[in-house]
Symmetry: C2
Subunit: 228 residues, 2 copies
DNA sequence: CCAAAAGTGTTGACTGTACACCCATGT
DNA sequence: ACATGGGTGTACAGTCAACACTTTTGG
């Protein structure tokens, strides 16, 4: 239970909550766990927890991801601090929220038998979540859509080698609309963010697609990006 | 002194710090106070303080502005939560930072005789500030520059009636570069955000300028804005 | 009449967008 | 042979960016 006061100072509880996005079969999905304790016992919720002494909120977010869903080495970024006074029935508890991006390929092996039953759920049509987590999800989706338009965060949602069609589907899913294939390819290749991997994706009953890699796997912002 | 633990939970201290921007004589300025207590006693710092029970961080930010500098009814937006473990020598203390925008006209009367000597200081060439406040300032300037390009936050830096040249100077100061007068006017008027106030600014020894007002004084975002 | 800032349009370059067909493979 | 997605270019429209002179006032 959060400790609510001592002396003249008031220290609220501080939790982190993480919105983990992935894209699977053209669907944007979010990681949910089932709460094993009160409050909201049995409700679906974002993975989260109280921070520990000597730990930053970023570190806490990474710890929560690893402990609750076995997820490591993924893109994690601070989102917003939610602090409605009554957002937690136990008392005044801030949530420093984060969002994370994971390529769907890596996820299936990671989501093992965890106590809180982590699973990826379609971001459209989520059920009622614990606390103010639905609101956190809404906010994070907006941030992701904003960010993908002027940065290369798409790389965090893809395996190291991917086809241009796969890249385009990431954009279409996050932005929620179709993009013209020729225009997308022309613009993305001009940006110089990706280079050919010199291989092709074979084995499908169709013409093999060239594979590409991102030149940089760190986050980059740029002035002009995908306006389309 | 922040209370650092009780039982199995750890509750860090939680402060708010506010970066108040104004533009005066074509200079971007930031509100600083002088710390009257340790740590960093005597150092310039952003106005801030611990949050109180039953108060959101947004409310705390507004309270701090009012108490420390007499500033009320201004645009306030959450920026980021800074949480380096050693950012405060007293122990682990988070700073939920905010930024605020104030028209310079309103400020001179507000900054009265306060104990912490609030004053507006040019944002370029700030001295060493207490805690990690220099870093918070850097981050907030980036946010302001990003935001002014795709929203109408400029209205928060101007009095209710203003000339197009005054508006343009806000943009030039925040973005740190000159803008072409004809292109700026054409584009801004096409956006439909402002309308003529039907008056002129007289009394200067030059041709009187038409005064304008913002149509909406709430924050608006738009897809296309000032690319120039 | 002079100084100072206000106000005003056009043109060429660039970027965005719409659009349709042939190609390489697996079955 | 056919079904499937891969891959490619052009033309029109819209936006951006560069640029100089006349107007109105106060002193």
């Amino acid at each position: 239970m959060p400790n609510q006061s001592k002396g003249g100072f008031f220290n609220p509880g501080v939790t982190v909550d993480v919105v983990v996005f992935t894209i699977e079969n053209g669907l944007l999905k979010i990681l949910l766990v089932k709460r094993s304790d009160d409050p909201f016992k049995g409700f679906p919720a974002l993975p989260g927890g109280f921070i520990r002494r000597g730990e930053t909120t970023h570190e806490a977010a990474e710890r929560v991801l690893k402990d609750k869903a076995g997820i490591e080495n993924v893109y994690v970024e601070q989102l917003y601090t939610f602090d409605e006074v009554r957002r937690d029935p136990r008392g005044q508890v801030l949530s420093v929220s984060y969002f994370a991006l994971v390529p769907s390929e890596d996820l299936s092996i990671r989501l093992g038998r965890k106590t809180e039953h982590p699973e990826m759920v379609a971001a459209d049509g989520l059920p009622a979540l614990a606390f103010d987590h639905n609101r956190i999800v809404v906010y994070s989706r907006k941030r992701l859509a904003d960010k993908i338009r002027y940065s290369n965060v798409a790389y965090s949602l893809l395996p190291s080698e991917f086809t241009l069609t796969e890249l385009q589907k990431i954009y279409e899913t996050v932005l929620g609309r179709r993009i013209d294939k020729r225009n997308f390819r022309k613009k993305y290749l001009e940006l110089g963010l990706i280079k050919s991997a010199g291989k092709k994706r074979k084995g499908l009953r169709q013409r093999p697609a060239l594979l590409y890699r991102f030149v940089n796997s760190r986050m980059e912002e740029m002035d002009r990006f995908l306006k389309q």
